[in-house]
Symmetry: C2
């Protein structure tokens, strides 16, 4: 009863609980601004597939918006809200999964020149900074609606979490670079 859909379905359903109706396209954009940092942002085609499945289960409902049946907006249903809440309350979360191509490469660093591993880590620092800037922009867009009780309270908490994670990673990499210099 508590996890009969893939987690990505619940994630997308959750993005429809912020008070507005979205098209598939807009839902993908919201995923790019939120889910991407803590989960995955599904491909466009996957978003449509999920919306179809959620509709079949009665968890969302499409409303044709324009006169031309394009741009139909999806909204979460009462059943969808109940189902999502039950999932939150009953399904124990898995431990996070990290797929870290940089750590994986460092693991077998003995195959390449140490300078190469250092360059790898320095490039990762750049990528981290870029990712941080993206998330910082998202975080700023929530300002003003992020006080306790307001609609973006939780998204802003999670964004702060993400920012601190990225800062922590930067610190770790810098220390690793120092250790690699002691060769």
């Amino acid at each position: 009863m508590s996890q009969e859909l893939p987690t990505t379905s619940y994630a997308l359903l959750g993005l429809l609980t912020f008070g507005d109706d979205l098209t598939g396209y807009e839902l993908k954009q919201r995923a790019d601004r939120t889910l991407r940092f803590y989960w995955v942002s599904p491909a466009m085609s996957q978003v449509y597939t999920e919306l179809e499945r959620l509709t079949e289960h009665g968890l969302v409902k499409a409303r044709a918006a324009g006169p031309n049946r394009r741009s139909s907006k999806y909204s979460i249903t009462a059943k969808g809200r109940r189902t999502l809440t039950a999932w939150l309350e009953d399904a124990p979360p898995e431990f996070p999964v990290l797929k870290h191509p940089v750590a994986l490469r460092l693991l077998i660093g003995h195959l390449v020149d140490p300078e190469h591993s250092k360059a790898l880590l320095r490039e990762h620092l750049d990528a981290l900074a870029a990712r941080r800037a993206e998330l910082e922009r998202v975080r700023e867009s929530l300002h003003g609606r992020d006080a306790p009780g307001e609609s973006f309270r939780y998204p802003s908490l999670v964004a702060d979490w993400g920012l601190e994670y990225l800062d922590g990673e930067r610190t770790i990499i810098e220390k690793l670079l120092l250790r690699l210099d002691e060769e």
Copy 2:
């Protein structure tokens, strides 16, 4: 030329570069002690599938060990070593992917009682501590072969990275809990 196999294949191939030959079963065990923390530890059946594929590509070679053709050991070939090194040098790493069920749940925390979100985070602290203990045990098993130039230098660097990551996550969660108390 540089990424014509899934990353998991290269990862398993990399685990065969530490100077010993392994059976599929032993390879899975090594993955559980290393890959699990920075990538994924593939299912047993997947390990055998990958070994088959790597054999087809000439990157590993099986040597029947016992008299009974069971327990055949796999070793990396010269071509496998060249291919893996080329992958390390030429294939630019993707940005890490984090699938974080706890962050995902907190994102839609407005659907549940704040006490529930706090319990979620406290349970996550327990899970983090357990994971840390596992990794700490792995880290300790590398002591003595982890000096610069020694075979487990890089695995130990990555293990330290993992430990610091887990410590950082703990700190972040503790701060989040404090902020949630200000409701």
